[in-house]
């Protein structure tokens, strides 16, 4: 019997092609918006998480100034630098490799030129652990110096690598000596062993993986790089660390090691927070789901308008078919039969709107992904999960049926005599 009711409802829809299509358009605009926005939201979330996972891997975490990550960031008390005992950190169980970056501004004097003068001034000086160069490429990007130079190796002390702009400004080349002054009249003469290759802007997204770009020495062209330990000869104990990267022993639980490191280092006066992949991923999830919910809310309004459209169509339909309803009742239709037929009819319009809307929505999100991907230089995933599609289709049928509920109920309640008399 239900099959026959579907047939009756479908006949009635196709009989009023124009109006049915207009109603369906009202529904599918809403559905398109919802599907596209949810799909883009999910794709964004997935893409960003993949990027972050690519940078962090499964065994790495980052030490950042306490309060500079997560919700507590808004308290305004966050520090920009922190103190760190790198040797101690390396001795904490579970830690395999640790590398840190510290930064100061120091007085620098370039090599003596042919006319006996030399360029001097204050420049940022960055201390890099040797491990940073070769162990954490996913964070730093591929580091490279110009031909004829080299990066730091273990055991280097009195050496420096210059950023491209710094080298130009000081007039220094590989093999030259420069003077760097630290606190308390401490100063060192350093040999320039390399000049950074300027990072190619075009390919930076591939080598630097998005968010970690700021960490890359290749991009700070006006900086002087020295070995991490050399920094302490100039400025003493490390209380100016910007960031520390830690890789755990194989098989160790990265979150447990991160907790232990955070606790131990805090006990020794380091104001740090340990950030693992799951922390970043959670934060991104919170952000993207908030954005998605907001967008879906807007799309929901469009959907509501579509629903009202279905309701309007169904009311009109009930009115103009009053006599038909009377006839059906006269030939033996129960109220529940009439109700079912009208509900199926409005549900079907919702469902057709849902099918069209889902297809258009997925198409739209694929187009949007391509644009976003091209704009940010990433491959953005198009998420079309079966559950999203199923929920959308079931939802659009329910939307239609729900919008048709009242008109259908009114139709089913029409007294036969009145309906038969209706002209």
């Amino acid at each position: 019997m239900l099959k026959d009711f579907f047939m009756l409802a479908a006949r009635s829809i196709t009989h009023r092609k124009m109006r049915s299509w207009l109603t369906v358009i009202g529904v599918f605009i809403g559905i398109t918006a919802v599907v596209a926005l949810i799909s883009i939201g999910l794709g964004l979330d997935q893409t960003i998480k993949q990027q972050v996972a690519g940078v962090f891997g499964v065994d790495t975490f980052v030490l950042v100034p306490k309060g500079s990550f997560g919700p507590q960031r808004h308290t305004g008390t966050s520090a920009e630098e922190y103190a760190l005992d790198l040797q101690y950190l390396k001795s904490i169980p579970g830690v395999k490799v640790a590398a840190a970056v510290r930064q100061r501004t120091g007085f620098v004097q370039g090599p003596t030129k042919a006319d006996g003068t030399s360029t001097q001034g204050f420049l940022p000086v960055m201390g890099l652990s040797t491990e940073l160069m070769n162990e954490f490429e996913s964070f730093t990007g591929k580091l490279a110096v110009q031909p004829g130079g080299r990066l730091f190796v273990a055991g280097d002390v009195d050496v420096a690598v210059l950023g491209t702009d710094t080298a130009k400004r000081l007039g220094a080349k590989v093999g030259d000596s420069i003077l760097v002054a630290g606190d308390d009249k401490k100063e060192l003469t350093l040999t320039v062993v390399g000049i950074m290759k300027p990072s190619d802007e075009g390919t930076s997204s591939k080598t630097n993986r998005g968010f970690s770009a700021g960490m890359s020495p290749g991009q700070n062209k006006d900086t002087i790089y020295v070995p991490y330990d050399t920094m302490s000869l100039l400025w003493g104990k490390a209380n100016d660390v910007l960031v520390t990267l830690v890789r755990t022993q194989p098989g160790a639980d990265v979150n447990k090691v991160a907790d232990l490191v955070e606790k131990d280092l805090r006990a020794r006066g380091s104001e740090i927070s340990a950030i693992t992949y799951s922390d970043v991923s959670d934060a991104i999830g919170t952000m993207t789901s908030t954005v998605s919910a907001f967008l879906a809310g807007i799309a929901g309004i469009a959907l509501l308008v579509g629903g009202v459209g279905v309701m309007n169509t169904m009311f009109t339909s009930v009115l103009e078919r009053t006599k038909e309803i009377g006839v059906m009742k006269a030939v033996g239709a129960k109220n529940s039969h009439i109700l079912t037929i009208f509900l199926i009819e409005s549900g079907l319009m919702g469902l057709v709107g849902g099918v069209v809307g889902t297809l258009l929505g997925l198409g739209l999100s694929a187009v949007a992904s391509t644009f976003i991907g091209r704009f940010f230089g990433v491959h953005m995933a198009v998420v079309a999960s079966p559950s999203l599609i199923l929920i959308t289709l079931a939802g659009s049928f329910s939307l239609g049926a729900f919008a048709g509920l009242w008109p259908a109920w009114r139709a089913s309640r029409l007294p036969v005599v009145d309906a038969l008399r209706y002209e």
């Binding site: 019997m1 129960k334 005599v417």
Partner: protein
């Protein structure tokens, strides 16, 4: 006990909040099984109201209406629906076929509501269309049929659930005399060959001519009852 009994039946309609229209003013009508009854009278005489009450789609304001001895008032809405579905077939002046359905599907419609299986339904619909001489038009939609053909489809539909009573409201009102004649002939056959009780509400003297009895109404009262030979 007749098939249909009306005793001192009255029917009032409210127009707006205060105006009351008396459509029937104390009617006694008894209809026996197998009769062909023509109900005649000018517009506003209460013909349609009487037919609706006889068809169990309406109840009298006062007085009694019963079908095979059962008081219509004592039946629930659900029982009334079942009764109409099985015992009574309607034929309307404007045919009232579903424009979206073929002739055969229109005939099947009452059987759908009775929950009859598709195969049986289709066979019976075809049989009925054959009875009214439209077996070749089974797959045509109403707008592809002439007025007379449409009314024959409507009669086939009225017969779908093999009812005892066939109620026809001005069945020839929208037809030319030739088509009208065919329809009346068909209605008459329903009574003579298949034993149906046929009640025809009509202005048409030809319709009255096939009736075994004519009831004439005026201002909601029976003014004349003629038994035809």
């Amino acid at each position: 006990m007749s098939l249909l009994d009306l005793k001192d039946a009255t029917k009032d309609y409210k127009l707006g909040k205060t105006v009351i229209v008396r459509a029937l003013r104390g009617l006694d009508v008894h209809i026996e099984k197998g009769e062909i009854v023509a109900i005649m009278g000018p517009s506003g005489s209460g013909k349609s109201t009487l037919m609706h009450i006889l068809g169990c789609v309406d109840t009298p304001t006062a007085g009694e209406a019963s079908i095979e001895g059962t008081q219509i008032k004592s039946l629930s809405e659900r029982q009334l629906v079942a009764l109409r579905g099985r015992k009574i077939g309607f034929v309307f002046q404007t045919f009232n076929l579903m424009q979206t359905l073929s002739a055969q599907q229109n005939v099947e419609l009452p059987m759908i509501f009775q929950g009859i299986k598709k195969k049986e339904r289709a066979q019976r619909a075809l049989d009925l269309l054959t009875k009214v001489g439209l077996e070749r038009r089974a797959h045509h939609r109403p707008n592809e049929l002439s007025g007379g053909e449409r009314q024959r489809v409507a009669i086939a539909r009225a017969l779908a659930n093999d009812p005892d009573i066939l109620l026809a409201d001005e069945p020839t009102g929208n037809l030319d005399s030739e088509s009208g004649g065919t329809i009346l002939e068909l209605l008459k056959r329903m009574s003579t060959e298949y034993g149906k009780t046929v009640i025809i509400v009509t202005h048409d003297p030809d319709a009255a001519a096939i009736a075994t009895r004519t009831i004439r109404l005026h201002d909601g009262r029976v003014v004349e009852e003629v038994r035809n030979a």
